[in-house]
């Protein structure tokens, strides 16, 4: 008990006064293995360079379509999987962060011994993959997860008492009668009670199961909880109950949330700040009101336009997006959204794959293609079975029917016998840039690269 109280004291202060989780360039690449020897032939870039900061007492919303990496990021932060690149830091102070960023900016070989020592010290105290002993235990206690599907995240063969009491037992917080009392008070804090102690998960409704999950997450009085789509399996009326409960708990216990969801209405309601993810990257981040009222990225705009809202004008038509999410093993160059973007510009990162996709979807000209020789994503030679089809492709690529945003990015198209040489103007990757205090976006229409247009 004393340790819990000590922690609560240590936690006093105002909302947002210090970071709880700091992410610097976090990457999670899953290897794709093929062949008899299971050779690694590529990587699915589920999370590809995400930097975020979650400050004490706030709720950071994370939105995006399925497959954009939001759940993987949540799993990295909660320590369920280790990121393959970058770092996740727990309770990294602003001073240390500045120092760390300074060190990371200098290439490895040029770092001074003092810098290395400092970095080592910071990492052993804050980097979650390098924590040991008490620091590791403190992180585990203070970072809990509530999963989407409460049925598959609760052990069907354990009683509620054991499920909710397990964290307390593992951390040797309580045992025997005291444990039972602690579990009862946890259950009471989520609107359940003593009568539920000796039941199995299958005896509860979806909403109650989610309450049990939340009680388990609260058992060690954590500072930070990752909520991974906590209400998307629930009905509207029950969802409202759970959302109210989550807010109440946050207010009473000073919790910090990472709220992952694909439901914009829910995220808007629950979050102070929102980060929008697309294909493993954060494309826009800002305060909830700012992001919803003045979105600065076409992807955010598209999400908002597609979201049916009960309060919107009925005459306002919902609009969807063309095409599908590209393969995260081979993400597009430049801005990753440019393949589906309704306002794409010539500098958004047009590449050979875009030309090939366009040719295969809009025409039948690629049926005779035999090989692609790729020098880079911007420069390739397409080989055809006969001269005629090569010429037809060359014509199609120079005709006026090429998408207007792609055409100016095409540096050269030349037909050489049965081969077509395609070269696009290379563009650098897009960077997140602050367009207003606290509002960052990577869209070239809003950042300093606007001048290139």
């Amino acid at each position: 008990m004393t340790s819990v109280r000590a922690q609560s004291l240590e936690r006093e202060g105002s909302v947002g006064d210090r970071p709880v989780m700091t992410l610097i360039d976090v990457e999670k690449h899953f290897p794709i293995k093929d062949g008899v020897l299971q050779k690694v032939v590529g990587h699915v870039k589920a999370v590809d360079g995400v930097s975020l900061e979650i400050r004490r007492g706030e709720t950071l919303g994370l939105v995006g379509e399925s497959g954009c990496g939001k759940t993987t990021l949540g799993r990295c932060i909660s320590g369920i999987t280790a990121p393959t690149g970058g770092g996740i830091y727990f309770r990294l102070s602003d001073v240390d962060r500045a120092a760390l960023e300074d060190i990371l900016a200098t290439p490895g070989k040029e770092r001074t011994p003092e810098q290395r020592k400092r970095m080592e010290r910071i990492e052993s105290r804050h980097l979650i993959t390098a924590l040991t002993g008490d620091a590791w235990r403190a992180y585990r206690r203070n970072c809990q997860v509530v999963f989407q599907d409460a049925f598959s995240s609760l052990n069907p063969r354990q009683l509620v008492k054991d499920i909710v009491g397990r964290p307390l037992r593992i951390h040797k917080e309580a045992s025997g009668a005291e444990l039972t009392e602690r579990v009862v008070s946890l259950l009471e804090s989520v609107g359940m009670g003593r009568q539920h102690l000796f039941r199995y998960p299958h005896q509860f409704s979806g909403g109650q199961r989610q309450r049990i999950s939340i009680a388990r997450a609260l058992a060690l009085d954590p500072e930070f909880i990752v909520l991974d789509e906590p209400t998307s399996a629930l009905d509207v009326s029950v969802q409202a109950q759970i959302l109210n409960l989550l807010h109440e708990l946050q207010r009473d216990r000073g919790l910090t949330y990472l709220f992952i969801s694909h439901d914009l209405g829910v995220v808007k309601l629950m979050s102070d700040r929102i980060a929008v993810m697309y294909l493993g990257e954060v494309v826009e981040q800002g305060t909830a009101t700012e992001l919803f009222e003045r979105p600065r990225h076409p992807y955010t705009e598209a999400l908002l336009a597609a979201n049916p809202d009960l309060d919107a004008d009925v005459d306002k038509e919902i609009e969807g997006l063309e095409g599908t999410v590209p393969d995260p093993a081979n993400p597009p160059e430049g801005c990753r959204f440019h393949t589906r973007c309704p306002v794409a510009t010539p500098i958004c990162g047009w590449e050979v794959d875009d030309a090939v996709t366009w040719l295969s979807v809009e025409t039948n000209l690629l049926d005779a293609m035999t090989a692609v020789e790729r020098r880079s994503n911007f420069d390739a030679t397409l080989a055809f079975a006969d001269d005629g089809s090569a010429e037809a492709v060359g014509k199609a690529m120079t005709a006026g029917s090429v998408p207007p945003a792609m055409a100016p990015a095409l540096e050269s198209v030349s037909v050489d016998g049965s081969k077509v040489l395609l070269r696009f103007l290379p563009v650098p990757p897009v960077e997140l840039e602050e367009v207003e205090p606290g509002h960052v976006t990577s869209c070239v229409l809003h950042t300093s690269r606007r001048r290139e247009l």
Partner: protein, 407 residues
């Protein structure tokens, strides 16, 4: 009692002909604990060319209602415990015929209707498509089943019997060998071409780019949105009179959902097909429906034109449900949740099913089934407040005013 009143509501407001009329439909499931009254006296009409939204929470019986249209409720454990579903197909109506009761007609008549006059789009396109068949072959089945006459057209009126049987997918082993031999081979190929034309046209209808290419693909090669388009193409292939869409966009992302929704709406308007659109998402239903029926625990709580229901919801359940959707007006932590849970439907006693969670419930609510009443033009409700306000101590006009933005 309930049923006649409910049917009355829609019939009086109707100026258009009906496509289907559900009357007092009851579907029960036999379980060890007793009979589960999954659908318990449901009545509503679907008018020609309209989109009726059926909205409700998990387990309220909306999917079972929809499946009973095509007699897809597994029996046992399902029991069609009463009521009927009258269906007027465009053919019988043109011939001046009356309706057929979908629950009692013979199996071969049902085969003729299923996929032809009534078609269905399912929730999870990944599960509804056969993973072992290419898209082209999968869609071809619809045409072989229902449009074999059209497939034989290029061969003229006197096509060989073997080809006829092939187009009806009735060929035996020997016939299949014969079809590969010279005299019949070219004729069979013509039928095959005709099928492919039909399939390609059906796919093109759903705005799938390059349909001929898609036909050789297998379901796992397509994205979720694409699969749902294929299912829509399959459902609309025979130009059905009634399309049942059972949560067609629940498994899809919001940006894809918007496109599928617009596609369904566009096709519906172009072909004047009637649609029964089932969803748990109020905002989606408002987007697509002409009329809305709200279901709760196996019964219709309220039915009316979309505008009326969303502007002035009558039933306390509808009001609570709408208030529970997060909106920009809500403050964090102040969502109007509906306390409690949906009641068990095992051998229920006569009562309003919502009385355990209703803020206005009184004694009568737990003892008597509410009657379905016509409240306003084309707007009906099953609630004691509108029937016996004295018993509850609250009159309908004393309910707090309610407004969600409408047309």
């Amino acid at each position: 009692m309930t049923s006649t009143a409910a049917a009355g509501v829609s019939a009086e407001g109707a100026t258009r002909a009906l496509v289907a009329s559900v009357q007092d439909l009851s579907i029960h499931f036999k379980t060890k604990a007793g009979m589960v009254h999954a659908v318990d006296g449901v009545s509503f009409d679907i008018r020609d060319g309209e989109t009726l939204g059926l909205v409700g929470e998990t387990g309220c019986g909306k999917s079972v209602t929809a499946r009973s249209f095509m007699r897809l409720v597994a029996s046992p454990p399902g029991v069609y415990a009463g009521g009927k579903i009258d269906f007027w197909s465009s053919e019988t109506r043109a011939a001046g015929g009356g309706p057929v009761n979908l629950l009692t007609i013979a199996d071969d008549e049902m085969l003729d209707i299923r996929g032809n006059r009534i078609a269905m789009i399912f929730q999870d396109p990944g599960k509804a498509l056969n993973p072992a068949l290419s898209i082209g072959n999968q869609l071809a089945e619809v045409f072989y089943q229902h449009r074999s006459d059209e497939l034989l057209e290029p061969l003229g009126p006197n096509a060989p019997v073997i080809i006829r049987r092939a187009a009806n997918q009735e060929s035996g082993k020997v016939e299949r060998v014969l079809l590969k031999l010279p005299p019949l081979r070219s004729k069979a190929a013509k039928v095959r071409e005709e099928v492919e034309d039909h399939v390609a046209a059906a796919l093109a209808e759903t705005q799938i780019p390059n349909p001929r290419k898609i036909m050789d693909r297998y379901p796992h090669e397509l994205s979720g949105g694409m699969k749902q388009r294929v299912l829509i193409a399959q459902a609309l292939a025979c130009n059905p009179d009634l399309l049942i869409a059972d949560e067609p966009t629940t498994a899809l992302d919001v940006t894809i959902q918007a496109r599928i929704l617009n596609l369904i709406r566009e096709l519906q308007q172009r072909r004047r097909t009637s649609v029964l659109y089932i969803s748990h998402d109020l905002s989606l239903v408002r987007e697509i429906s002409d009329r809305v029926a709200v279901m709760y625990a196996g019964r219709i709580a309220e039915i009316g034109r979309t505008d009326d229901v969303f502007r002035q919801p009558l039933h306390p359940y509808t009001r609570s449900l709408m208030a529970a959707v997060p909106s920009s007006r809500n403050k964090r932590g102040e969502l109007a949740a509906i306390e409690g849970t949906v009641p068990e439907l095992i051998d229920p006693q006569p009562s309003c099913r919502f009385h355990t969670r209703c803020p206005y419930a009184a004694g009568v609510c737990g003892e008597v089934d509410p009657r379905f009443l016509r409240h306003d033009f084309d707007h009906g409700v099953a609630c004691h407040i509108y029937d016996e306000p004295a018993e509850l101590g609250i009159r309908p006009d004393e309910l707090p005013s309610y407004e969600r933005r409408t047309r």
